[in-house]
Amino acid sequence: MVGTLARLGLAAVWLASGLLKALDPAQTYVAVKAYDVLPTDGVSIVAGILPWFELALGVLLLLGVGTRAVAVLSAVLLLVFIAGVSQAWARGLNIDCGCFGGGGAVEPGQTQYVQEIVRDTGFLVLAAWLIVRPRTFGALENLIGRAAEPGPRHSKVG
């Protein structure tokens, strides 16, 4: 039950954040650039791929296909986000994380690094739960697994 909610919750997070980024590519570019980590070409590539990557994770989680693998990818991406926000904070940059659209520089004093890191950590907990317990209700992979499961017959040990 918890796993199912974690899966659908994380799916909603990726679908929402991916969609908001995909709908406003210029804004996404500005948000990625504001972290001041990548060269110009790196910024355009990351800003180009990130929305679609997030949407892919969201769709796979929503359908429940490869939950554990997608949870691992989600956790890695969230750790990258947390690292990005942390380095901006540590270097004294004043940026919005652009996690759900928006992003770019903000006035000094308008940063929300603590909230952003706490929020990403919460999502990371959802991903961690799914890595440990990937079996959930209503997941498409349950059907795939069952269909591929051989009947009681002699078979080679995998």
Binding site: I144, V157, G158
Partner: protein, 254 residues
């Protein structure tokens, strides 16, 4: 589900497997072929997403790289750069800050359209370099130094290329910005004479640029919701909505 449930289920599974073993049947564990299928689907979907992202990015970039060359005249009127033929029927005014990332997006997105229209004499563009983001570099003042260098580039007759180069190399907000040496090298690489470096280092237009910025900030026609920001673009004096990607073509056809 509780721990007791889980232990009970595990016990039942083990008992079932023990019965199968007793019957000489080796149960296949975990459904390997199903697992491989699932992982293949994950890989295909993730790779498809990456391909979509890369394709869109490369399409935008190749369009920008193969842009038309600027053949329009450029002159200076104070700190305003006047691009295009004076007889052009449509007047566009662009207010930009060389540190403003949305200005970079504007330049990257519309550079080719603007260059084509300028070359064809359909529009003339007055570029106002404003410096509202001077405090967003450490040390402060990159916006002003870049605006001054761009005015030097008009005198060096390399303005269209230099303008584009400043955005291509745009530093991030919060950084130190490009140094005067970097600003100079960008110009000399484009063929500017030695006097260009002196013009950049002297920063002689700074006061006039600051005054022009103040004037622009206080012009109600340039404000959005009561405040001035960059980029701001007007067509024949009326502010345009840059969310409308057709703003330029619409202005030309009118």
């Amino acid at each position: 589900m509780g721990g007791a449930d889980r232990r009970e289920r595990q016990r039942r599974q083990e008992a079932a497997q023990a019965r199968l073993r007793a019957a000489g049947i080796t149960p296949k564990r975990g459904g390997l072929s199903g697992n491989a299928l699932v992982l293949t689907i994950v890989a295909v979907v993730v790779i498809a997403a990456i391909v979509i992202g890369v394709t869109i990015t490369l399409k935008n970039r190749s369009a920008a790289a193969a842009g038309p060359a600027a053949t329009y005249p450029v002159s200076r009127s104070g700190v305003v750069v006047a691009a295009g033929q004076a007889s052009a029927p449509v007047t566009v005014d662009v207010y930009e800050d060389y540190l403003c990332p949305y200005c970079e997006r504007l330049e990257t997105t519309y550079k080719d359209q603007i260059t084509t229209a300028l070359n064809a004499g359909q529009i003339k563009v007055n570029y106002h370099a404003v410096t509202i983001l001077d405090t967003r570099t450490t040390p402060a003042g990159y916006s002003t130094r870049a605006a001054n260098a761009a005015l030097c580039a008009v005198d060096a007759t390399i303005w269209p290329q230099y303008h584009a180069a400043l955005y291509a190399a745009q530093p991030a907000e919060g950084s130190a910005g490009l140094t005067n040496d970097q600003l100079t090298k960008t110009g000399t690489d484009l063929g500017a004479p030695a006097s260009f470096g002196q013009c950049v280092a002297a920063n002689g237009n700074a006061a006039a640029i600051t005054a022009a910025t103040k004037a622009a900030e206080q012009t109600p026609a340039l404000q959005t919701d009561g405040s001035f920001g960059t980029p701001t673009v007007t067509v024949n004096g009326t502010k345009v909505d840059l969310n409308n990607s057709n703003w330029l073509q619409g202005a030309i056809k009118k």
